[in-house]
Symmetry: C2
Subunit: 197 residues, 2 copies
DNA sequence: GTATAAGGTGAACGATCGTTTACTGTCAAG
DNA sequence: CTTGACAGTAAACGATCGTTCACCTTATAC
């Protein structure tokens, strides 16, 4: 058996395991890996797992249970647009990441809101976009916040100067808002997500 | 024991299990749940799991192994900015979702690129943003594409008219590009992600 | 041609898995 | 005061877990 063939086989096995993981939200057991990869002996699986652990494709926790590593992540991180598309070799080495882990620091206090209106259009936030909002962070000057002013909910820049607070839209069509009485800040915008198609 | 207290206890146990799941990338075993929730008997865990299964917090697969349901998702989906912040009751019922599943249809062919330059700024894509690029889709008129024209990589709108192809920037500072010879489209942009802070 | 390493089979191991049965308190409703 | 309905403990079950042993096959290297 030539070397390329062996690597191909290994790759397809990793793909099978990854597919199982994404389908079942858990790693397969040793005998399940055997079924997936056509291995009748659990020892063959044992050796395969050790190899994959060395390749940092997966890892074990204290009890010998399997945890995904590069398997868990769905999008590979490449360079910049300017740099263009990397070679297949670089592509293979590309770092992978989970968008959830990347974007959400506090899962309990983070929510997703849909944007209506164009008041933040100059900040690159368009109607129909989604924003991730963290309720747990303390609002600071310059943050984009979700706020309730005089019984209306809006998304604006937060401008603090001394004790005075202003809500600044990112669109010349709209005027800055100086809350008369109540200003309730529900959370600050930590990310913007736009999906096409 | 009053009813509210009991529900609080249940909620905090769900939280513990969710925390374990996100930390270890797998569901805890019955005895591990016992440790997490302060239950010395596996039967108590058994009853707890059955209750949570009824509440659709988690589920079992064919072999009795646990799978997360509402546990798996990290960001809760609420309404719109205009609608403002929902009441705690609605909040509890909010749909949850995984950003990976939401944004990525084809994991194998999807990559993440960092945006440099301001040529798409009027489309709400700013320098420093990340774009999800799918290599597997066929480019169509109106899509935003990553393309190599005359040895340079750019991100532009794809304009097709008959057999002629033009790359259209979303910034009046730049001119449309009519590729002289080669036009290699590496992929189409399926989503934009901007992270603050 | 022979040695060597790698990939795989098959059987056995103790440990842990999820499940079940039997029993004990503890409240709230009748 | 009695009676259920819960919530929890304790012990035992077969099944499956991850691991290890000895052995076989096959291709590459010397």
């Amino acid at each position: 058996m030539t070397k390329d063939l062996r690597e191909d086989k290994l790759r397809s096995r990793v793909r099978e395991i990854a597919r199982f993981y994404h389908k079942n939200s858990r790693m397969p057991s040793f005998s399940e890996i055997g079924d997936l990869c056509g291995l009748r002996s659990k020892n063959a699986v044992f050796k395969l797992v050790n190899k994959l652990e060395g390749l940092k494709v997966l890892e074990r926790d204290g009890r010998g249970r399997l945890r995904p590593r590069s398997l868990a992540h769905t999008a590979r991180l490449l360079g910049t647009v300017e740099a263009g598309w990397p070679s297949p070799a670089e592509e293979e080495l590309a770092d992978t990441m989970s968008l959830d882990d990347f974007l959400i620091r506090n899962p309990q206090s983070t929510f997703l809101l849909k944007v209506t209106g164009d008041s933040m259009i100059d900040a690159g936030i368009l109607p129909g976009d989604m924003v991730l909002v963290d309720k747990g962070l303390t609002p600071k000057n310059g943050h984009i916040v979700i706020a309730e002013v005089d019984n209306e909910w809006t998304m604006k820049y937060l401008k603090k100067r001394g004790s005075s607070v202003t809500l600044l839209p990112a669109n010349p069509k709209y005027k800055p808002v100086k809350p008369k009485q109540e200003l309730r800040i529900a959370g600050i915008v930590t990310a913007v997500i736009r999906k096409y198609g």
